[in-house]
């Protein structure tokens, strides 16, 4: 709900007036109010009054204020739309002396989940690298503070899925887990009651492992080609990952940073006699080749 600044001012004046009314209960003869101790959000209810004649009824809630003229001696019907926000409410009856009573509106059953899954990409086989947190809300987006069981269901692209359970405390529950051995999308679903939210985390290859290249020589050039570049779990590093080739010969040092395409990295160097060639991918070093001077 948005209010303009003059609107705010009027609202504050009204609240200040009501507060004044609250601190003066029993100033004169007052009508009686009988309110329930707790009410579920979005549930209408009635407040019984005693006495006779007309009175002004105020209901002050966390997000709005209600003012109504009522007949004493009858039950006051509070609409469901007047108690949607959870929190502490104050009912005030003025005739003209004022009396008040407070009651609590609690969240309705869970109806929404805000589900945070972090990070969106994670290297495979990394312990405690995935965090999941679920916040449980009712249909009016009140945080449900009563404990609720949340089921986290993890479904990797390959391999068996598994579940973890958590019970909310103050509206939130969370879990940690490690990434699995294989790359690919992992779907994580959080469920509470019949409400579920899905997120996908991408498991990606870790650092290159066992990086190897081979040389194909022709005339005065050498073509270097890696074997399919994989991590220690056998996952292929994604295309675009940079592989650095370095050649040292009598002409000096030559380097090419080339991206993996279709799983392998390939470069071509010219040769001027004996040469020493090495390959690396990030911090992972590969094999070295010594080419003789006949080339």
């Amino acid at each position: 709900m948005q209010r303009t600044i003059p609107g705010h001012f009027a609202f504050c004046k009204r609240i200040a007036g009501l507060a004044l009314l609250c601190v003066l209960p029993g100033w004169a003869w007052a009508a009686e109010l009988h309110v329930p101790a707790t009410v579920e959000a979005g549930q209408g209810f009635s407040i019984s009054t005693a006495g006779s004649g007309q009175a002004i009824f105020y209901l002050v809630g966390p997000d709005h204020v209600l003012k109504r003229t009522v007949s004493l001696g009858n039950d006051l019907q509070i609409q469901a739309s007047d108690v949607r926000a959870a929190g502490r409410y104050q009912a005030i009856l003025c005739d003209p002396a004022c009396t008040s009573a407070t009651f609590e509106v609690t969240a309705a059953p869970p109806a929404h989940l805000s589900f945070f899954l972090h990070p969106s990409r994670v290297p495979v086989s990394t312990p405690d690298s995935i965090d999941a947190a679920a916040f449980v809300f009712d249909r009016y987006f009140n945080l449900v503070l009563t404990p609720a069981a949340v089921d986290f269901r993890i479904t990797p692209a390959s391999g068996a899925g598994f579940s973890r359970q958590g019970v909310t405390r103050d509206g939130v529950t969370w879990m940690h887990m490690g990434s699995t051995l294989h790359e690919g999308p992992v779907q994580v679903t959080a469920t509470v009651g019949n409400v579920e939210e899905k997120r996908v985390i991408q498991q990606v290859a870790a650092e290159a492992c066992g990086l190897r290249m081979k040389a194909l020589t022709s005339a005065n050039t050498v073509t270097l080609e890696t074997d399919p570049v994989r991590d220690c779990s056998g996952n292929a590093l994604p295309d675009g990952t940079v592989v650095s080739f370095t050649k040292v010969d009598k002409a000096g040092k030559s380097t090419v940073d080339t991206p993996i395409k279709k799983g392998i990295a390939r470069v071509q160097f010219s040769l001027h006699g004996p040469a020493q060639i090495s390959v690396a991918c990030g911090v992972a070093l590969g094999n070295e080749l010594a080419l003789n001077g006949k080339l």
């Binding site: 990409r121 675009g240 940079v242 991206p259």
Partner: protein, 368 residues
């Protein structure tokens, strides 16, 4: 009276003609075509190049120059959107290397100003005595040509679909790339403190990267904060490593207690092409006897790279980064063509360095 008016008009006309001649460069042209020393001949040629009078500059060359007008203009004014096309000759220092009665060898250090800083171009020019004047012999520019061909490129790029802003709190988004500063070294240089190091994109997606450093006093309060500006490769592909250098001019090392580093990465669309090879890298001395790292760049793609920047990291015996230098290449990198480069190395660093690594930043009008 009558003769007085005629005399006055005659003198005024002569003055105006003389003024127009000077304004149109006649003085320089006269100096050029009447260069009585080799230095004057080179200076006059540089003046014409500075004034963008390429045709007159070409006309003043010795007929034995093995170049045509188009090649001469391409050599001095640049082409293909290269950095030279955005530069202008700021100054030229001429010094004799050798001279006799008929010919001389002159060294000219051309200082070009560009939006990316000043660039030096040092050339040794032969100057011949032609009758009463001296004329410069302009060597044929070594433009390489590659036979017409089709270069197959497996075009690889990343695009990013971000989160829909209308989605609720907690909706899924893609994270920024993970980058890591793999080494960092703070050194003291004359009049400044310099932070050097290397940073790696550890992720599987490209990153747009900025590295900032904050120098801290003993009480933890900041002295100064600076960024790496252009002494870094801002776009890093997966597993790519870039050196960085951050200068703090006017700060003394003894005032610094600690350094706070901050590497910030953004997920950006990027392309894996072009691949630029750096071949035949070697430590050497240039024409001005400065220590340089020389080599050649080869654009292995099929499209021109308009502006290239060479970044070099130097390591000592223990593998620590001891200096990072850079240099812009003022020629465009045409596909498959070797383009030389040289970056300066301070003398004290040259004496201590054990090895080095070079990477190339690039800018292409077509792809950007």
């Amino acid at each position: 009276m009558k003769w007085g008016l005629v005399t006055f008009l005659g003198i005024a006309t002569a003055l105006l003609v003389g003024f127009a001649w000077v304004q149109s460069g006649g003085l320089k042209q006269h100096a050029m075509f009447s260069a009585v020393t080799p230095e004057e001949a080179v200076q006059a040629l540089m003046s014409q190049i500075q004034a963008h009078n390429y045709q007159q500059a070409y006309a003043s060359l010795d007929p034995s120059s093995d170049t045509d007008l188009a090649s001469f203009i391409r050599d001095v004014a640049g082409s293909d959107g290269s950095l030279r096309t955005y530069s202008s000759l700021q100054a030229a220092e001429v010094s004799p290397l050798h001279a006799d009665g008929d010919q001389a060898l002159m060294r000219v250090r051309m200082n070009w100003s560009s939006a990316l800083g000043s660039l030096d171009d040092v050339r040794d020019l032969r100057v011949l005595h032609d009758g009463s004047v001296w004329r410069v012999v302009w060597p044929k520019p070594p433009f390489s040509t590659v036979p017409p061909q089709v270069v197959s490129v497996n075009y690889l790029r990343w695009d990013v679909i971000g989160r829909n802003t209308s989605q609720t709190w907690g909706a899924q988004d893609v994270d920024s790339p993970k980058v890591r500063i793999t080494s960092m070294n703070a050194i003291s240089r004359p009049g400044r403190v310099v932070i050097l190091g290397e940073v790696e994109n550890e992720d599987t997606v490209p990153a747009y990267l900025n590295v900032n450093a904050t120098l801290l006093k003993a009480d933890g309060s900041p002295i100064e904060e600076e960024g790496s500006f252009d002494l870094i490769s801002h776009v890093l592909l997966p597993k790519q490593v870039s050196p960085f250098r951050i200068d703090f001019p006017g700060v003394r090392m003894d005032a610094v207690k600690s350094v706070r580093m901050d590497a910030r990465a953004l997920l950006v669309p990027a392309s894996a092409d072009p691949v630029i090879a750096v071949s035949d890298q070697a430590l050497s001395k240039d024409g001005l006897n400065r220590n340089v790292l020389k080599g050649e760049l080869v654009n292995q793609s099929g499209r021109p790279v308009n502006i290239a920047q060479v970044l070099a990291a130097y390591y000592d015996n223990s593998g620590k980064v001891i200096w990072v230098s850079d240099g812009y290449v003022d020629q465009a990198l045409m596909p498959q063509v070797l383009v030389p480069f040289a970056v300066d190395i301070p003398d004290d660093i040259a004496g201590r360095l054990k090895t080095y690594r070079v990477i190339v930043n690039h800018y292409s009008r077509l792809s950007n």
